[in-house]
C-alpha cells in the first residue's frame, strides 16, 4: 500500500484534526490562529503536491499525475486566498468562528481527494467530503434567514444530485463490472459496443457532475446560494470549489469515459450552449452583484464545457488554461465584493459600487480589470481563456457552439461593462469603508496576473499541456 504517495492529503487531514483540537481547547477566540494554521497547512500541503511523484496508491483508488498536481495547486491557492478574504469579512460580520477555516480545510481536502480519484468510489468520497462542509458553510450565518435558506436549498438539491450520481455509479458498476478508472477505460475503450446500462449510468453521473459545476439545466441553486450565503463563503464557492468541480468532470469524462466520448459529447454540447446563453441573458436583469456573479459563473461554465465537449487534446488544454485564469479573475472580483461595506454593513447591490472610480480608484481599477477580463476583452487574461477554448471548437468543427460562445460573450460583455459604468459614471452614494489589507493583497495579486498574463503565458501553457498529456495518456 503506497500511502506515502498521498502525503499532501494526509498532511492536510491530520493538520485539520490538530487544528480542530487547537481551536477547541483554549478558552478564547482562536479564529485568527486557526486561520493562520490552516493557511500554513495549505502551504505545506502545496509543497508536498509540488514534489509528489507520479504513481498509484491505495489499491488503484488514488492516482498522482501532472493533472492532479496542476489542479491541486490551483485548489490550494484558491482556497488560501479565499480564506484570507473571509478572515476580515467574517470578523466584521460577527461570524468569527474557528470552525470556518477548518471547514474550508476539509472541503479543500475533499477536492484534493476528488482530483486524485482513480476510482468511482474515491471520487464519490471526495465529492461528499467536499459537499458536506459546503452545506454547513452556506448556512454559516445561521441567524440570517437567507443564509439558512441557502444552506437548506443547497443541501436538499445537493443530496438529490449526489444520490443521482451514486445511482449512476452503481449502474456503471453493475454493467461494466468495475469502478476503477483504468479498467473502465479499458472496458469502454474496446471495440465491443458499450452496454446501454453503462450509458444510462454515465448520464446520471454527468447529471451529478453538472450539478456541481452548475451547468444548465442544473444551475438553479447557484444564484440562490450565492445570494443567500455569506459573501466570504461565496468567495470560496466561486473560486476554489469551481476548480475542484471542473477537475472532477474533466477527470471522469476524459479519463474512464473518454472511450465513450460519442455517448456523452452531445449532452455536454447541449449543456454548454444552454449555459452560455442562460448565463449571458439571465445576468443582465440582476441588481444583486452576487447573483450577477452566479450567472456569470454559469456562463463561464458553458465555456469550460465547450473545451471539454470538443474532447481533443487542444480542447482539454483550453479547459485547463481557462481554469486558473477564471480562478484569478473570480478571486479578484470577490475581493472587491468582500470589501463592499458601508458604515459597517455589508452591501451587495451593483448600485452600491456607484462612484467607486472616485472614492477608491485603486479598487475600481481592479474591478474594471476583472470585469473587462471576464468579458474577454484583450489583452486581459480572460480573452486568452476564451480564445483557447474557442479555437479548438472551431478547429473541430463545432460551429454552432463557437458562434453561440461569441454571441453570448458579446451579451455578457454588456453586464460586465455595466458594473464598470456604474463605478465610473454614476454619482456616488457615499464612499465604501476602507478595505482591509487582505483584500488589497488579493486584489493586487490577481489584478496583476489578469492584466499581464499575456506577457508570460508560456509557463501556464506548458503546465497545462503536461497535465493534459497525463490525463489522456
Amino acid at each position: 500500500m503506497n500511502w506515502t504517495l498521498a502525503l499532501p492529503e494526509l498532511v492536510l487531514a491530520l493538520s485539520g484534526l490538530a487544528i480542530l483540537v487547537a481551536g477547541v481547547l483554549p478558552r478564547r477566540d482562536m479564529t485568527f490562529p486557526c486561520t493562520m494554521m490552516v493557511l500554513g497547512a495549505f502551504l505545506l500541503s502545496g509543497a508536498f503536491v509540488l514534489t509528489q511523484p507520479d504513481g498509484m496508491g491505495f489499491g488503484g483508488q488514488y492516482i498522482s499525475d501532472a493533472f492532479a498536481r496542476f489542479m491541486k495547486v490551483l485548489v490550494l491557492a484558491g482556497a488560501a486566498l479565499a480564506l484570507l478574504l473571509a478572515l476580515d469579512w467574517n470578523r466584521a460580520e460577527g461570524l468569527s468562528r474557528f470552525e470556518y477555516p477548518v471547514l474550508v480545510l476539509f472541503a479543500t481536502l475533499g477536492m484534493m481527494v476528488m482530483i486524485s480519484a482513480n476510482d468511482l468510489m474515491s471520487l464519490y468520497l471526495g465529492l461528499e467530503l467536499l459537499s458536506l462542509p459546503l452545506y454547513v458553510m452556506a448556512a454559516f450565518h445561521r441567524d440570517n434567514a437567507r443564509s439558512s435558506e441557502a444552506g437548506l436549498k443547497y443541501f436538499v438539491l445537493g443530496a438529490l444530485s449526489s444520490g443521482l450520481m451514486l445511482y449512476g455509479m452503481s449502474l456503471v458498476y453493475g454493467f461494466a463490472g468495475t469502478t476503477n478508472f483504468a479498467q473502465l477505460a479499458q472496458v469502454l475503450g474496446g471495440t465491443a459496443p458499450i452496454s446501454a446500462g453503462v450509458v444510462v449510468g454515465i448520464v446520471f453521473i454527468i447529471t451529478g457532475l453538472c450539478f456541481k459545476v452548475a451547468a444548465v439545466p442544473f444551475h438553479m441553486w447557484t444564484p440562490d446560494v450565492y445570494e443567500g450565503a455569506p459573501t466570504s463563503v461565496v468567495a470560496y464557492f466561486a473560486t476554489a470549489t469551481k476548480v475542484g468541480a471542473i477537475a472532477a468532470i474533466v477527470r471522469v469524462l476524459a479519463g474512464p469515459f473518454g472511450g465513450a466520448v460519442d455517448q456523452w459529447q452531445q449532452v455536454i454540447v447541449l449543456a454548454s450552449i444552454a449555459s452560455m446563453i442562460l448565463g449571458a441573458f439571465a445576468a443582465i436583469g440582476q441588481t444583486n452583484i452576487k447573483r450577477l456573479m452566479a450567472y456569470s459563473w454559469i456562463s463561464h461554465t458553458g465555456f469550460v464545457l465547450m473545451g471539454l465537449a470538443v474532447g481533443t487534446e487542444a480542447g482539454l488544454r483550453g479547459v485547463l488554461i481557462y481554469t486558473p485564469i477564471y480562478l484569478m479573475m473570480s478571486l479578484g472580483a470577490f475581493s472587491v465584493l468582500v470589501a463592499m461595506r458601508r458604515n459597517g454593513h455589508a452591501v451587495e447591490n451593483i448600485q452600491d459600487l456607484a462612484g467607486l472610480g472616485r472614492t477608491d480608484p485603486a479598487m475600481a481599477l481592479g474591478m474594471a480589470i476583472f470585469m473587462f477580463a471576464m468579458a474577454g476583452i484583450p489583452p486581459l487574461s480572460g480573452f486568452f481563456a476564451k480564445l483557447y477554448v474557442l479555437l479548438p471548437a472551431v478547429e473541430a468543427g463545432f460551429w454552432l457552439m463557437a458562434v453561440v460562445a461569441v454571441l453570448s460573450s458579446v451579451v455578457s460583455a454588456y453586464y460586465y461593462l455595466r458594473v464598470v459604468k456604474v463605478m465610473y459614471f454614476d454619482a456616488s452614494t457615499g464612499a465604501l469603508d476602507a478595505r482591509p489589507s487582505g483584500v488589497s493583497f488579493v486584489l493586487a495579486g490577481t489584478g496583476l496576473f489578469t492584466m499581464f498574463f499575456f506577457l508570460m503565458p508560456a509557463p501556464l501553457l506548458a503546465a497545462a499541456r503536461q497535465a493534459v498529456a497525463a490525463l489522456i495518456g
Binding site: 437548506l152 436549498k153 436538499v156 438539491l157 438529490l160 444530485s161 443521482l164 445511482y167 449502474l171 453493475g174 454493467f175 463490472g177 446501454a196 446500462g197 450509458v199 444510462v200 454515465i202 448520464v203 446520471f204 454527468i206 447529471t207 450539478f211 439545466p217 442544473f218 438553479m220 441553486w221 444564484p223 440562490d224 449532452v267 442562460l278 441573458f281 439571465a282 445576468a283 443582465i284 436583469g285 476583452i377 484583450p378 489583452p379 486568452f384 483557447y388 474557442l390 479555437l391 472551431v394 478547429e395 458562434v403 461569441v406 460573450s409 458579446v410 460583455a413 454588456y414 453586464y415 461593462l417 455595466r418 459604468k421 465610473y424 459614471f425 503565458p457 501553457l461 499541456r465
Partner: protein, 972 residues
Amino acid sequence: MSDSLLLLSLVALPFLGALAASLLATHARNAAAYLAGGVALAGLALVWTAYPTISQGGVLRAEFAWVPQLGLNFVLRMDGLAWLFAGMVTGIGALVVVYARYYMSTEDPVPRFFAFLLAFMGAMCGLVLSGNLIQLAFFWEMTSLFSFLLIGYWHHTQAARDGARIALTVTATGGLCLFAGLLLIGHIVGSHDLDVVLASGDAIRNHPLYLPALVLVLLGALTKSAQFPFHFWLPHAMAAPTPVSAYLHSATLVKVGLFLMVRLWPVMAGTDAWFWIVGTAGLITLLVGAYVAIFQHDLKGLLAYSTISHLGLITLLLGLNSHLALVAAIFHILNHATFKASLFMAAGIIDHESGTRDIRRLSGLNRTMPFTGRLALVAAAAMAGVPLLNGFISKEMFFEEALSADGLLVLPLVAMLASAFSVTYSLRFIHGTFFGPDPQDLPRQPHEPPAWMRFPVEILVLGCIFVGVLPAATVGPFLDLAARSVLGEATPYYSLAVWHGVNLPLVMSMIALGGGVVLYMALQKHLRSGIEGPPLIRRLEGRRIFERALVFLSWRLARRLEGVLGTRRLQQQLRMVLLLALAAGGFAAWHRGVGPGNLVPQGVDPVIALVWVVGAACALGAAWQAKFHRFAAIMLLGGAGLVVCITFVWFSAPDLALTQLLVEVVTTVLLVLGLRWLPKRMDKPGATGVEVVTISRRLRDLAIAIAAGLGMAALAFAVMTRTPPDLLAQHFLARAYTEGGGTNVVNVILVDFRAFDTLGEIFVLGAVALTVFALLRRFRPAPESVEVPEQQRDQSARDAERPDRRDGDTVADWLLVPSVLTRLLFPVICILAVHLLLRGHDQPGGGFAAGLVASIAIILQYMIGGAAWTEEKLRVLPLRWMGTGLLLAGGVGLASLFFGMPFLTTYFAYADLPWIGRVPTASALLFDIGVFALVVGATVLMLIALAHQSVRGHRAERRAETAPRALVPGED
C-alpha cells in the same frame, strides 16, 4: 536601422510615452505636451526612414514569438498602405498635440489626456502595421477602448459619459463581430498571417463560409466607420475635447474601418454580396449624413454628420468593385483627413475663443478673427469640393466612377445630390459663423487664438491647397504606393490633374455647387427658426432606437426570461432536477434500448405480490399524508419499511431483514421524537382557497413520483435479469466458514473479512452520537412549540374541572396497561439481545442487531414511562458503553498483533462448556460485543438528548410563566 527595430519602436514608442505621461504630475502641462509631441514626431521620423524601402515597392516585416503554441506570432508588416496610414497617424498626431497644448484648459489633468492620446496612437500604429489577423483584432479593440477613454475624458459631464458609453458599445460589439469574422477567414485560409490571407483571395471568395465571414467583418468595419445604421455613435462622441474629435473622429479612428476594407479588398471584394452590402451602406450613409448635417446647429455636430457622409462616400467607392474607385477611395481618405481635421480644429478655436459652438448664436466672427476665418473658409471649400482644392479632385474621381458603374442611374444622381448637400452645409458653416452681423451676447469676447494654436490648421490648409493645385507632384507618389500595395499589378492608370477638360463630372460638379448655394438660400428661413433636428426624419433618431432596444434587451427581455426559466422555490427546483434526470436517463435508456436481460424472471407468488400491494399502498399513503399529517405519514412509512423486511425474509436474507426491521423501528422512533419540535401545521386542505389547484398540483407530483419510481424499478429489473459479473459475493460465500469460522456470511464479513471497515464505522457512529448530543444539548425549542401538547392540556383541563382529581393525575396514569407490559418485557428483550449477539456468527443476529434490540428495550421504557421515571429506575451510562465498545473492538484487533498475526485477524475454535456442550467460539465474538456496546451507547445517547427536550420544554414553560420571554441561553 533594422526593420524589426524600426517597426517595433514605431508601435512601442507611443505606449512607452503614454506610460511616462501617466506618471507625470497633474499640472505638468508643458512636459506632457513636449513628451507627446516628441513621441509623435519621432514616430513620423521613423515612418519617413522607412520610405526608401517602401518606395521601391518593398515590404518591411518583423516577427516575434507571441503564443508559439498556437502558431501565433506577433507580426509587424509595413507596405505602402500601412506606411501611408502610419504617416497619417503620426503626422496628424503631432499637429493635434500642438493644438491640444493650447486648447486644453489649465484645470484639466492634461498628462492623463496625453497619455490616452499616445496610447491611442500606439494602438493605431499597431493596427495598421498588423501582419496577422488576431493581432489586428486585438489592436482594433484597443483603439475602441482608448477612444472610449478619450471621449469620456471630461467624465464629470453626462454627455461625455453617455457618448463614451454609446461609442464603446457600438464599436466594441462590432469589434467582436470582426474578431469572429477574422477567425472565420483564418479558418478558411488555414493561417492567420496577413500575407498568406492576402494571397488566397479565390479560396476565400469561393468558400461556403464566405458570406458569414464577410458579414461579420463588415459589421466590424461599418460600425467603426460610423456607417448607416450604426452611424449614431459618432455625433454623440463629439462630447470629447475637440483635439480628440479632430484626431479620432475625422482622421484616424473612423478611418480604421475603411482601412480594413481596403486591406481586405483584394480577397473579399469583387462579389455581388460585397457590392450590395458595402455599396448600399455607403450610399445611404452618404445621403443621410449630408442631409442631416445641413440641419445641425452645433458646429461639431455639423462636422460629425459631414464626416459620416464623407465616410459613406468612401465606403460607396470601395463597394463599387472597381480598381479606379479604390484609388479614389484611398485618395479621399487622405483628403478628408486633411480638411476635416483642420475644420474640427477651427471649430475648436471658435468654441475656445467665443465660448459657444451654436451656429444660431454665432455670426460675423470674420471681423474679430479674420485669419482663422480665412483658414476655415479654404478648408470648408475643400470639403464642398471647390476646384483647385484637394476635395475637388477626389470628388471628380468619385463622379466619374459613379457614372461608369454599370447602368445605375441612381448612383450619379445621389452623388450629385449629396454633393449639393455638402456645399450647403459647408456654406452654412462658413456663412453662419463668420459672416453676417456682429454676434450678440457671446459668453466670451472673441479674438484670434495664439499663433501656435492656429499653426496646425495652417499646415493642414496649406496641404489642401498644394494637393489641390499640384496633385501629381505632391501626393501622387504616396497615393501610388498605397494603391500599388493593395492592387499590385492590377493598379489601373489614373491621372491626378486639376483639369481634364469639360466632361460630365465637371458639369456635375458645377451643378452641385450651384444647387448647393441655391439650397442654402432657400433654407435660410427654416434654419433661422432654430428648430432642432432635420425635417422629415426627425423621429428617426438612431440613439433613441438604440437606447430603447438596449433597455428591452438588457432589462425587460432578461427579466422575462429569468421569470420564465428560473425559480427561487426549492420545490420547483427539486421538481426540475427530478424531471430532467428522469428525461435524461429515460432518453438514454430508450435510445440505446435497455431491455430485460438474459435471465428469465421467476413467476411471482401471489402472497408476496399481496404484501407488495400493501407496501405500495403504504408508500402512496405516506406521500399523500406527508403534507398535512406528518405523524400518519411516518407511520405509513414504517409500514412500507416492514414490507421491505418481509421481502428480505421471503428471499432468504433473515439477517438483512432483522437489521432492516430494527433500523426501521429506531428511525421511526427518532423521527417521532423529532416531530414534537416542529411547528404545528395549521392550514388544512380545502380550508382556504380553491382545492382544485391543490389537488391537481399534488396529482402532478404524484405522477412525477410514479414515473421516477417506475424508471428506477425498470433499471433495477434490467440489472437483475442479467448474469452478474464476477462479484465478491462468491468469494465471501466460499470462504466464510473455512476462513472466518462462521456460517452467517454477513456477520463474518462484518467482524472478520471487513472488520477494519466495521471498526471505522463504529468510530463514526460514536462520533455522530456525540455530535447529536452536543448539538441538542444547546438546543432551544422554538417558542411556538414550547407549550405542553394539546392532548396533555386537555387532560389537565379535565383534571381541573373535576373536584376529586388533582392537576396532573391523568397524565400520571397515562397508558397504564402498556407501561406495565413494557416493564415486564424489558428483561425479555434484553435476553433476546444477548441471544442475538451470541449466535450472530452462525445464525441471523450479530452485534449490530443485538445492540439495536437492546436500545429498543430502553427506548420503550423512555416512551411509555417518561424520561423522569425511567432515569430514576434505570441508569444507563451511554458514554461508558461507547467507550467500552470502542476499546474492546480495537483491543481485539490489536491482540492479534500480539500473536504475530495482522491487525484484526480472527481465531476460532469449538469450546466444550459444561451443561451446554460443544459451542463454536471465535475471537470475533469479542469484537462483536464491542460493536454491540457501542451501538447501545450511541443509540441511547441520541435518545437521551432527544428525550430531555420534553423535560426542558416543561422547564422553559414554567420559566416563561414566571418571567415572560425568559428563553435565556445557558445550560441547565
